[in-house]
């Protein structure tokens, strides 16, 4: 008995279902989002050893291997360190559908922090964005806030 070997069709198995998670935000992260909700500002955490202020706050300073506990209030403003206007389609991990393009992703040094925070900059005309520009956070209305990174809608360029 022989078998046809040349079916001329290579098959693909598709798997398109999401894998669900529920990640703890942790004590430091919960302070960060609660401060946004209650006081519409950012907070960081200062290392007692090297003085570095990290935002968002976390429990450990990696280089010093020290536990961090001193929460430092910051404002809602910062400075653009780097940016990119994104023009390729990509499934938005928050919604599962394609995000409208273009949008601008930015690295922002919040005033009073030593590391870089990242978020969306509300400007897609590259000629109007420069490193060093001041930006200010635009938050959701309090009743819409959910205690996650989308409680910050984006950053507006203010000069």
């Amino acid at each position: 008995m022989s078998t046809e070997r040349n079916y001329d069709e290579q098959l693909t198995v598709k798997f398109t279902y999401p894998m669900p998670y529920r990640w703890s935000v942790g004590e430091h992260g919960s302070v960060f989002f609660n401060e946004i909700k209650k006081n519409r500002r950012f907070v960081g955490v200062r290392c007692p050893s090297c003085g570095m202020v990290y935002v968002p706050p976390r429990r450990v300073c990696g280089p010093c291997f020290r536990e961090l506990d001193e929460i430092v209030p910051l404002t809602d403003e910062g400075t653009i360190v780097a940016f990119s206007t994104v023009n390729y389609p990509f499934l938005d991990p928050a919604t599962g559908v394609q995000r409208p393009i273009p949008y601008t992703y930015g690295y922002i040094r919040l005033d009073g922090a030593d590391n870089i925070f990242s978020h969306i900059i509300n400007e897609t005309d590259v000629s109007k964005i420069q490193v060093g520009m001041k930006v200010k956070a635009v938050f959701r209305e309090p009743e819409q806030m959910q205690g996650n990174i989308q409680d910050i809608k984006h950053f507006d360029i203010i000069g």
């Binding site: 894998m19 703890s24 004590e27 429990r59 291997f65 536990e67």
Partner: protein, 380 residues
Amino acid sequence: MNDVAIAGVAQTGHESRKDNMIYADMVFDVVTSALEDAGLTLDDIDSVVTVSNDFLDGRTISGMAVGDASGGQDKNISTVEGDGTFGAFYGLMRVLSGYGASIVVAHSKGSECDIRYVTNGMFDPIYQRLLGIEAISASAMQAGEYMQRYGVSEEQLAAVSVKNHGNARNNPYAHLPMDISIDDVMKSRPIADPLKKLDCGPVSDGAAAIIIASPEIAAKATSTPVWVKGVAHCAEDYMIGDRDLAVPVALKDAARRAYDMAGIKNPAEELDLVELYDAFSYMEPLWLEGLGLAEAGKGMSLLEKGVTTMEGSLPVNPSGGVLSSHPVLVAGLVRIIESVLQLRGQAGERQVKNATSALAHGINGPCGQSHCVWILNKDK
């Protein structure tokens, strides 16, 4: 093997949900505690191995996210995706190749993912995964095959759950210390025939860390060193259908090589306790057979004769085992930690008297596809 010691150990309590902790928080706790336990500082550590799984964590390259909390910042951090005993093996190899001391740290939070989906992800996506098979259903079939082959009953296996949950009552780290009867196990909710709820370990959140050290660093440590005498691992076929699930050949091979390395001729006589990876009740007798401590199909006779109880000549899972606490990946490292505590004489209410030699065991892959066996001793 050249002399290598375990100089520090630490674990979190194991529980169903650590709501206030991210992975890095748990890792920082156990790494800090393991260093404290050893009386060493991060300056004494020149090798960092983390253990995690990307599907469990929901994060690509999950080891990197705990780089700072593991003490791995600006160090040679590297990750093992598998059980903690295998991560420890990598940490051991680094010390044997000339490093002074390895931190090995494992974390997992079963509460953050859908564990059925994650273990379903172990299987072949084309032929098995879409059928829905995952760790419990695969293990249920292994249990069935083992019971059928050797005429082992559900009531017999229930006794393992009674013993191990009972032992857990003396372990402050255990997730499910329980005072239960064979009847309780038999009447517990059917999960996947022949497994009932109390035949299955829980899914826990937890972390654990050990410090594996050269004799020079071990001498600097303030803890009592426990020495690694032999270690080996072995894996068999990926496809479950290619294996004889009632005969753990990979474990037999790993055990034989670990015994040879440790110079153990008669393990039943020479070992004082065994900590094995009993994710389900049937695994304890099956793995005891693989370890050469019982003949094929006779694993249950050890418990029935009282050998493996706390009062017996070879207590098995004095900690309460994985049936009582199952942080996935972390659980194997916890077997090593329990062995170390026993050999140091620091196991509290669950202390095995005069323990000098212990065996710790971990598994990886469905139904014990691969096994890692450690022989530890009080003496060098």
